[in-house]
Structure formats: structure tokens, C-alpha cells
């Protein structure tokens, strides 16, 4: 099954370490246009670091990252320009607290991309509508719930019209009942064909959204595959063990009385 889609992101032999601690160890990855890749793995396996490297937020020790054949390097002069093509959403929903919701969404299009204000606002409103928060347009971030803030952060990233969205455990800091409203937005984006790399601990979401699941451990890709196979019949023992940690076995038995 040859994939005809163009490769937008190419990671070659990426190595990242903090001091002596090697977090990513010679990782290769290709991402095609429209692909949704979900990265899972135990904590400390380097998933978040991988996303931060792709966005040039971490200095890398080896290999390279090419976005549309342009090298991503946090120290280079054109990094700000490259980052415009990458919409990143972090775990902590860090909106700018001194700006209203619509200002949060339109700030970067106006000051970075120099788009006309009216156009940026119109698009910002359309994006807020899309994440279901147009009525919060003039509120400040502190007036919103965690889930709402995270939806605004997604709209803010989308406003830059990025080629790839990088989502770093975006629901990890949310109350359980708010997780769904955020993930629904992402499912919607996937349906539309947005290219995304998603780090998450929500396994049922991963299964629903992914084109390809990557299981990372010790800075290596231990296993990768389509979600239908990965979640039901993982090839490696490690992946099986990892998936097992999400299940619990009942310690009490109950009889259901009619």
C-alpha cells in the first residue's frame, strides 16, 4: 500500500539529551500531509520532548528535522517563520491573561503575519464559532473554564493557518468532564484532513483519531501501526504491557440481583 501523499515533515536520526540523560535516541519519522499520528508511551519516554524538538523549543544534539525541506533549528534566524507553520498546543492552557479571547486568537495573525485587522478578526470569530465559544469573544481567559480555555488555545493555533498541529497532552490538566469537549474539536479537525501529531494518554481517543499510532519508549519507536491492530493485537511485549496498565481487574465480585 504505497502512500501517494506528500511528506511534509521528515525527522532523521533525531537525538536529544539533557546532560547525560538521552531522551530521544536516533529517532526517524515521516509525516505525510493529512496524516494524524498519535504518539503514546510511558511517562518520560520522550513524547513531549519530541514535539518540543519539532517546534524548535529544544536544542537537539544530533540528526535533523525537515519541515517542507527546510531545517528546523531553534537557534536559526528564521525559526519564528518556521514556527508559523506549526500550531502547537500545550498541556497547560496558557492563554495571554491580559488579552480578551478574540485578542488572544488574533494577536499573532496581526503582529506576526501582518494580516489586516478586520480579516484577522473575521477569521478569529469563525474559529471561535467552530470551537463553540463565539459568545466568549470579549471575555478574559480567567472567566473561562479549563476546557473552554484549551479550546481557545486550539483556535489560537489554528488562526495561524499552520500546516501541522502539534498537540502535547492537551487534556492532561483538565477535569474529566471537560476532556470530551476538547477532544471533539480535534476529532473534527482530523475529519477535515488536518495534519496532526498528537501526544495523549486518552487511549480511546487515540484509537478513534489516529491514522498511525507510534509507541515510544526510551527515546525509540518500539512499535508503530494502524490503531486497529496496535490496540487489539500489539506485536511487542512492551506495548502489550503498556496497554495493560490502562486496565484494571476487579478485586471484588458482585452478584447482580434481579
Amino acid at each position: 500500500m504505497a502512500d501517494e501523499r506528500e511528506i511534509v515533515l521528515r525527522i532523521e536520526n533525531l537525538t536529544k539529551s539533557f546532560g547525560d540523560n538521552v531522551v530521544i535516541d536516533g529517532l526517524d519519522l515521516e509525516v505525510r500531509a493529512g496524516e494524524v499520528i498519535v504518539v503514546i508511551g510511558p511517562s518520560g519516554c520522550g513524547k513531549s520532548t519530541l514535539l518540543r524538538c519539532i517546534n524548535g523549543l529544544e536544542e537537539i544534539q544530533g540528526g535533523r528535522i525537515l519541515l517542507d525541506d527546510q531545517e528546523v533549528d531553534g537557534r536559526s534566524k528564521n525559526i519564528a517563520q518556521i514556527r508559523q507553520k506549526l500550531g502547537m498546543v500545550f498541556q497547560s492552557y496558557d492563554l495571554f491573561p491580559h488579552k480578551t479571547i478574540i485578542e488572544n486568537v488574533t494577536l499573532s495573525p496581526i503582529v506576526v503575519q501582518k494580516r489586516p485587522k478586520e480579516e484577522a478578526i473575521a477569521e478569529g470569530e469563525a474559529l471561535l464559532e467552530r470551537v463553540g465559544l463565539l459568545d466568549k469573544r470579549d471575555d478574559y481567559p480567567r472567566q473561562l473554564s479549563g476546557g473552554q480555555k484549551q479550546r481557545v488555545t486550539i483556535a489560537r493555533a489554528l488562526a495561524m493557518q499552520p500546516e501541522i498541529m502539534l498537540l502535547d497532552e492537551i487534556t492532561a490538566a483538565l477535569d474529566p468532564e471537560m476532556v470530551h469537549e476538547v477532544l471533539d474539536v480535534i476529532l473534527d479537525l482530523a475529519r477535515e484532513g488536518k495534519t496532526m501529531i498528537i501526544v495523549t494518554h486518552e487511549m480511546s481517543f487515540a484509537r478513534a483519531v489516529a491514522d498511525r499510532v507510534i509507541f515510544l519508549e526510551g527515546g525509540h519507536i518500539v512499535e508503530e501501526g494502524i490503531p486497529e491492530l496496535f490496540f487489539t493485537n500489539p506485536k511487542t511485549e512492551r506495548a502489550r504491557e503498556f496497554l495493560h496498565t490502562f486496565e484494571f481487574t476487579a478485586v471484588r465480585s458482585h452478584t447482580v440481583e434481579e
Partner: protein, 225 residues
């Protein structure tokens, strides 16, 4: 009136003289505050540098400012500089030097604190949106830092205004000194003036500082998040 010694206030040009004395105190405060704000900003940015030499210098400076009583600093500059260095520094200039020395240190520390209080995620999410370093500071970091800074720096300003009541000790004829002169001159006829005059001075300081405090409170409420 007699009982409180307030009648003295209306004798001759006493009220006017008190106000002029207040003018001197306020003038010295304003000049020192402006110097402190401007240089304090720069010093605050200097304090955020990771350079170890910069750290040691700012540390020592700040400790001196914190540990030394303002009165001692005033004496050192006014009497000490004249004796040791042979400089003839006027009392007013000495006051401005000491108040600025104090203000720059404290202001710098406030600026440092408010810059460092901006979470690293604010920088990162702005960077992830494609902003350059300059844009991040201009649109994201500085507006937030200033909101934290202004209420605290206004408190510093009122403290500086109140502390000008010390500069009579080096002979500046400000409101306290004028008050003393009026009380001395009327000691025989209205011994109670001591209460009336100092009470009036208290009220004058209050009238200068209170609006400033109200402004700080207002801004704090407006920007709280």
C-alpha cells in the same frame, strides 16, 4: 482652636509656609521617584541577567539599600562626603542622591520580580505562535509585567514621600522643619501648637499619599486576574 493650637496655623503666613515646606518635600520626592523609576527599570533588567558578575553586583547593591537606614545614608552622603571627599553637596542634592539610590535598588528588585513572575509557558506559547523575541516581550511579557509592577511601585513611591520627613535632619527646610520652626516661635503663646501643627502635617502627608494609594488599589482591582 486654642485647645488644639490650630490658631497658630492662621497667624501671619504660617499656613502658606507649611505648604511651601510640603512643596519642598514633594519636589524632592518627585525628582527621586522619576530617577528611581527610569534607572530602576534598567537595573531590574540587569538583575535578570544570568551573568555571575551582574548577579554579585546587584546582590551587594540591593543588600546595602535594604540594610542601611535611610537616615544613616543621608548622614553619610551629606556630612561624610563633605568631610572625606571635600565635596560641597547641598542638603537637597544629598537627599535626592540618597532617595534615588534607595529607589533604584527597590524598584529594580520589583522589576526583576515582575519579569520573573511571568511563567515560562507564556514565552513558549508566544514563540510557538511564531513571534520573535522582540514581539514576545512587547506584546506578551511587558504588558503582564507592568500590571504586576505598577501597584507595587506606587507603594514604593508613597513610602519615599513619607520618608522625606527625615531630611530635616540634614537641614532641608521641608514641611517638618517649617512645622518645628512655627512651634518654636509660638511656644510661649500657644504651647498646644505642637499638636495642631504636627496634626496638620500628618493630614498634609495623608492628602498627598492617599490619592496615590487609591490609584494603586484601583489599578490592582482592574488588572487582577
Amino acid at each position: 482652636m486654642e485647645l488644639l493650637g490650630l490658631d497658630v496655623l492662621f497667624k501671619g503666613s504660617n499656613a502658606m509656609r507649611l505648604l511651601q515646606g510640603l512643596g519642598v518635600a514633594v519636589e524632592i520626592s518627585i525628582i527621586s521617584v522619576v530617577i528611581s523609576l527610569v534607572l530602576g527599570m534598567l537595573f531590574g533588567i540587569f538583575m535578570t541577567w544570568k551573568n555571575p558578575v551582574a548577579r554579585v553586583i546587584s546582590r551587594i547593591y540591593l543588600e546595602i539599600v535594604r540594610i542601611m537606614p535611610q537616615l544613616v545614608l543621608l548622614f553619610i552622603v551629606f556630612f561624610g562626603a563633605t568631610r572625606a571627599l571635600g565635596l560641597n553637596v547641598s542638603a537637597e542634592l544629598s537627599s535626592i542622591i540618597v532617595f534615588s539610590f534607595w529607589g533604584v535598588g527597590e524598584m529594580g528588585d520589583l522589576v526583576r520580580g515582575s519579569l520573573e513572575s511571568i511563567p515560562v509557558h507564556q514565552y513558549e506559547s508566544a514563540a510557538a505562535l511564531g513571534m520573535t523575541k522582540g514581539q514576545i516581550y512587547y506584546h506578551v511579557v511587558i504588558p503582564q509585567a507592568v500590571r504586576r509592577l505598577i501597584p507595587m511601585s506606587i507603594n514604593l513611591v508613597t513610602r519615599m514621600i513619607k520618608t522625606t520627613s527625615l531630611i530635616l535632619m540634614i537641614g532641608v527646610v521641608e514641611v517638618m522643619k517649617v512645622g518645628q520652626q512655627i512651634i518654636e516661635a509660638n511656644r510661649m503663646v500657644s504651647p498646644n501648637a505642637v499638636f495642631g501643627i504636627y496634626g496638620t502635617i500628618l493630614l498634609l502627608y495623608f492628602l498627598v499619599c492617599w490619592p496615590i494609594s487609591m490609584l494603586a488599589r484601583h489599578l490592582e482591582k482592574k488588572w487582577s486576574n
